[in-house]
């Protein structure tokens, strides 16, 4: 009961159940203490919840009721388009023509044999492998740095979020300039210094272009990793880290044994989100290369957009977008399982 006694608000008296919202600030302070008592009280909670409650009070019923608003939005605005998308991928539908036929898995088979699509799948894999681990690594490093208190740390934390805040439609234009083979200030400065004699071909060579895209993607993604992991780090008990340090544990040992276990769930979840975002990325590639040169940077999003919007073959385009869905869904479920599983033990 120490959590409750730590509160200075009047919930202990029987009559005043209305908590003023203003109290949340006070309550916040005691949140950590409360958290530690959670496990102990879970059983008691269940006993109360059972039995004498009306239908509306029953957890199971209430839980489902609580799902309704969110799921209404999701089903209306995502469910229908999603199932329509699956259906379209099984047809030869063209956007502007009312007549179309069911063609089974023909679109998927055609794609499998299409060298551009194979290239697109490879590029998407490069894009994922070339960005997610780096975003994780840099994000973790940045989070460890930002986890300290130092002068203006708040402004650093907010300022370093900027890449994530700037609308991608505009920041990708900034990258377009930086990577431009004509306008790039990077090339220009290096030329002025005499280090190169021709502008760097950032986006005009297969691997240069892929690396450039990865850099821009990492730039945009690091802050999200950093801020999420930073949040995880705050839950790491400082005393334990210090105790380990006093015991002579190395920096790495401290990280591995004390810090990482605490932040593991968020690292996994953030990684999962990032993988999804990266694989379905569109805007950055669309602005910088549109999949060129010679399809060497096409990702699923840009290829689907081209086939669906420009050539108006939306049946085929739906198949491109949904190609990875089964694998992604399976991966997501497995990862979620492992996170959840670890949590309940």
């Amino acid at each position: 009961m120490e959590g409750v006694s730590a509160l200075s608000c009047p919930e202990s008296s029987e009559t005043t159940w209305t908590l003023d919202i203003g109290y949340w600030a006070d309550l916040k302070g005691s949140r950590m203490a409360l958290a530690q008592t959670t496990k102990a009280t879970e059983q008691g909670d269940l006993q109360i919840a059972r039995g004498r409650r009306s239908l509306l009070q029953r957890d199971g019923v209430l839980a489902w009721l609580f799902m309704i608003p969110g799921w209404t939005v999701l089903v209306l605005f995502m469910g229908y388009p999603f199932f329509l998308g699956i259906w379209l991928s099984l047809t030869d539908k063209m956007l502007g023509f009312s007549q179309y036929d069911y063609i089974g898995l023909q679109n998927y088979r055609d794609l499998w044999a299409d060298s551009i699509f194979q290239q697109t799948l490879r590029n998407t894999a490069y894009y994922g492998v070339g960005t997610v681990p780096f975003k994780l690594l840099f994000g973790l490093g940045l989070a460890l740095l930002l986890n300290r208190q130092f002068r203006f740390s708040r402004f650093f934390r907010a300022g370093l979020l900027l890449p994530w805040i700037v609308p991608t439609a505009l920041s990708s234009l900034a990258w377009l300039m930086l990577f431009s083979s004509v306008l790039s200030p990077i090339s220009l400065v290096l030329r002025q210094w005499g280090l190169i004699d021709q502008n760097i071909n950032f986006l005009g060579d297969a691997w240069n272009a892929r690396i450039s895209l990865c850099i821009a993607n990492i730039w945009r993604g690091v802050p999200f990793f950093a801020i999420s992991i930073l949040a995880g780090l705050q839950a790491v008990p400082t005393e334990l880290v210090e105790a380990a340090a006093l015991d002579g544990a190395s920096r790495w040992d401290r990280f591995r044994a004390v810090i990482f276990p605490v932040i593991k769930p968020i690292v996994l979840i953030t990684t999962l989100f990032s993988i999804i975002w990266t694989i379905s990325d569109f805007q950055l590639v669309y602005v910088l290369t549109k999949g060129g040169p010679a399809n060497e940077t096409h990702v699923l999003g840009t290829y689907a957009y081209q086939i669906g919007m420009n050539a108006t073959q939306i049946g085929q385009a739906a198949a491109i977008s949904l190609y990875m869905f089964p694998a992604l869904a399976l991966g997501a479920i497995l990862l979620l399982r492992s996170v959840r599983g670890g949590d309940t033990q």
């Binding site: 409750v4 309550l27 740095l145 700037v166 999003g301």
Partner: protein
Amino acid sequence: MNIVGENRWWQRLLYFYLPLGIFVVLLLFPFYWMLVVSLKPNKELLDQSMNPFILLHPTLRHYRYLFQETVFTTWMKNTIIVTVGATTVALACSIFIGYALGRFKFRGGNVMGAAIFIAYLVPPTLLFIPLAQVVSKFGLYNRYWALILTYPTFLIPFASWLLMGYFQTISHELEDAALVDGASRLQAMRQIILPLAMPGILSAGIFCFTLGWNEFLYALVFMGTGNMKTVPVGVVSDLIKADVYFWGPLMAAGILGSVPVAIAYSFFVDNYVSGLTAGATKG
């Protein structure tokens, strides 16, 4: 947190200030470039003889252009309305979902949790076409509601997950005490748990706000007509003319579209982080 054994200045420099400095330079470098371009006269932009990162004759011309030749303030207003609206809707939905998943043990809970995640896997680049049909059926085309109701589809999954984790960390004792005293579940939730969860809600809100603020494709296709453009859509539509980019105003818009948000964040960022903390450490 002060890691033991780092009190010497060179250690602080090597392990802290140096890496931090590198991050600052690398992360803010493109941003600095945007700033420079937004203040550069057009003539200097093409000048091959000078260092492009230096501003010789800074000018506010591009910012003036933005306010005088485009309806930037209207775009800004639209963006704010849409983003605040979508954030509110997404938060309201996510609080309920997060609460149910985080605090109730019920049959199907895990399935629902996973299903919400799966909703994230649906790629928006293509599905905006069928979605256009839905938006039009509901008569939302070119109204704020078109975005306020469609953005939550990509906001709810993460926000629900985050809030679920947060709700899990809040003690059951308080709520139980309230229930014993005759409060209903809903009363207990509204009066006890929600106030306690405020940091988590704030975090989820900031997350939603940012993603809504950045969105381009839905805003282009479902709204984007007349005075209903958002900042990214308006800027890209009006400042890229055929094969000519108006770099200065484009970058000026990027700065104006992000710096105010960043400043606002500097006040909330610690809340955001602490709000995430709870959600973060619980699956």
